[in-house]
Symmetry: C2
Subunit: 141 residues, 2 copies
């Protein structure tokens, strides 16, 4: 099974490269983050610091949960809270050199996984769609 | 390749059955739909009519896009608009008897796909996660 060219694919060849990935910054207020998410159409995106190091993931779920008060969504609080305070930080990451099976396992529980290098710099994301596309290709071989 | 037990799996064996699927009704106001989405934690869920027939899909993207005004998110409009008016209706559906490859192709561009019978009744959903789990199992055989 190690002979399958599919299994030799690396995260680097599978990933959407960082310059094509929508993201937000650590210190952005949630108001800005929510606007980016709604305009880009993505449910969640990576959070980077000022030097493009990977810090976490922020999504509409997290933001809306944060402002859901007892009676209504308290939109005014969006300008008071920063991304850093509520983002999700315990998500698995991949390395550029990780092979296909590692990537497949990573997206089992996450719609996308960030590819990060040794120093923590953000390289890109591996999405479920890309994994499914490759599997679809090889399942027909 | 037709011999592979994986390819013989049907949508029925892959799907999350309707009783376990969070959904909203056609005539719910967006305010109710958004609450269901935030509390369930799902980005999008099926829309059913009063007889549990499949009608469309509603997600946070659609709702937030709808109320994004020029200056702010106009939350007050959420009680004025119904799910039916903004839901997405042109999504592909599956039939219980569809085989694995058909299901795989369906989730290529959609995180989940609804399983619907001839009369339009909602049977369940096939998710990317379930497809990936099965592929992960068989890729190790
Ligand atoms: N503008 C668009 N054009 C075409 N199809 C679109 C699309 N936006 C969303 N989709 C479809 O919907 C799926 C779920 O998107 P979601 O935003 O929930 O979840 C996305 C999003 O959170 C993130 N993502 C994907 N591409 C991204 C990017 N360029 N920048 C930032 N985040 C991205 O990765 C998750 C999984 O993406 P994946 O491609 O597997 O799956 C995507 C894709 O199949
Ligand atoms: N409560 C939870 N517990 C554990 N993991 C969770 C979870 N909520 C979300 N996830 C994880 O996040 C992925 C994306 O969820 P999302 O809500 O964007 O997108 C979901 C949601 O729109 C819909 N969905 C899944 N299960 C549902 C259910 N029981 N009722 C209604 N919709 C469901 O199908 C999409 C794809 O689901 P999938 O399982 O492939 O992928 C899920 C799953 O891996």
């Amino acid at each position: 099974i190690k002979a399958l060219p599919l299994l030799q694919l690396t995260a680097e060849s599978l990933m959407i490269s960082s310059e094509k990935v929508a993201h937000v910054q650590l210190n952005n207020p949630l108001e800005h983050a929510l606007l980016i998410l709604v305009k880009s159409g993505y449910s969640a995106v990576p959070v980077l610091d000022i030097q493009y190091r990977f810090k976490g993931i922020i999504g509409k779920n997290t933001i809306l949960n944060e402002i859901l008060g007892l009676e209504r969504f308290e939109l005014e609080r969006l300008s008071d809270i920063t991304v850093e305070r509520v983002m999700i930080t315990n998500t698995p990451c991949l390395n550029k050199s990780d092979h296909f099976l590692t990537c497949l396992k990573a997206v089992m529980d996450h719609p996308f996984v960030c590819v990060v290098n040794q120093e923590g710099y953000f390289d890109g994301i591996v999405t479920r769609r890309e994994i499914l596309k490759q599997l679809n290709k090889y399942i027909h071989v």
